[in-house]
């Protein structure tokens, strides 16, 4: 049995290696969440619009993204973005673009389910009051869909937070990378990976407990 020694986890190590990665992981999660939900809602509206020239590209985009492993999507974007914009792009920026566009596909499926859960009568009522499509969606349907789906959207965000560790594939400096480099430099990989796992667990577990609480509160109101 190997003797574990966590004494090397000093504040200097944490501020030198971990904090930088942690901030990037959080930044990536938040940007991809906000951007993904906005794009995802647009995709969902396209898919529910009933116009084939909007439905088909949106469906193709969502289905393609959902059938490719995230690691491959990360690699694809890292390869293609520089070809499209004509200059090399840092791994971190590439990761932010990739996750926003990738998560949009998953959020769009959630928003589509949310919009479909609103009864048709509400849309009809909106039109009957003389509201336009934009007003009906923006003032009546989307707020309710968003509210109903909030727990699912947040659960997806917890998955997104865990998935940010996959930027390992292109060498971006995220939370996991911080732990890995610290482990290599102090020659203590076993301890650093263990602490990384515990930290990811604490964050994901407490967030999912919060989502569960929120779910109960929303369920009562409804």
């Amino acid at each position: 049995m190997l003797a574990l020694d966590f004494a090397f986890f000093t504040p200097e190590l944490i501020s030198g290696y971990i904090v930088k990665g942690f901030i990037f992981s959080l930044q990536l999660t938040l940007v991809a969440m906000v951007g993904g939900i906005i794009l995802g809602t647009l995709l969902a509206l396209m898919r529910l619009s009933g116009r084939p020239w909007l439905v088909m590209p949106a469906a193709a985009y969502v289905n393609t993204m959902r059938s490719i492993p995230l690691v491959m999507v990360i690699l694809w974007f890292f390869l293609l973005i520089p070809l499209v914009i004509g200059k090399p792009l840092g791994a971190e920026t590439s990761a932010i673009i990739t996750f926003t566009l990738f998560e949009a596909a998953y959020y769009s499926e959630i928003m589509r389910a949310g919009i479909q859960s609103i009864s048709r009568g509400q849309v009809a009522a909106g039109y009957a009051l003389g509201m336009s499509y934009r007003q009906t969606m923006g003032l009546i349907v989307l707020p309710q869909a968003f509210r109903n789906m909030l727990p699912v959207l947040l659960t997806q965000t917890i998955i997104l937070f865990q998935d940010t560790s996959l930027v390992y594939a292109i060498g971006a400096y995220d939370l996991l990378k911080g732990f890995e480099i610290a482990g290599k430099n102090f020659n203590r990989p076993v301890e650093t990976y263990l602490v990384a796992a515990v930290l990811y667990f604490i964050i994901s577990f407490s967030l999912s407990m919060l989502v569960r609480k929120l779910q109960q509160r929303i369920a009562i109101v409804r």
Partner: protein, 248 residues
Amino acid sequence: MSTWDWQVFCKETTSGEVASTCFGKGGDITYLDWLLSAWGWTLSVSVLALVVALVFGSLMGILRTTPHRGLVLLGNAWTELFRNIPLLVQIFLWYHVVPALFPILRGVPSFILVVMGLGLFTSARISEQVRAGIQSLAGGQRMAGLAMGFSLPQTYRHVLLPMAYRIIIPPLTSESMNIIKNSSVAFAVSISELTLFALQAQEETSRGIEVYLAVTGLYFISAFAINRAALFIENRVRVPGMIGGGGH
């Protein structure tokens, strides 16, 4: 952008010369050989991990529906543990930490460690589905089983599980497709599967688009094949009279 060059797959990996048959001869391999063997690794990791996931996921899912508090707690703890740590971190734990903590496991090939990592990660999701499947059955079914004189294991074996598994075939199908996708993280511990092939062949040949397209296509085909297989099973085990069941 440059033009397509699919001939890259016929090149030998060491000399870079184009093999006439597209397959390597006498110990040499072409990128096509490598691609196919990588596909084999992806499928092996996925299928074995699925077996591990089904065994542990079913066991833990069943425990969570038993009347014993301790067993429910064990099942819940298992599910939360494996669900709340990122897959890549779990793979690293299996690869770097588990052999260091348990010296008996030091000689275990990394392929087995990845299968365990991916399998137990997925077992948490399957345990959720099995639990939901059992709980979706009317409570009277369990009581009827017990009232007939079945023991609790017999009630599960003959009454609850046959129905529960049929109900959860659709979510199990998507989980099986997820396993194919998730097996891509095995590249991080140097399993020579599709994603590692994509990374290395892209670097060696500078033909990233062709290489990635081939790899992505194989992921598509694999997931689609699982989807068809699951549909076949679903049709074979249909219970007449249920929603979606056969009418005969």
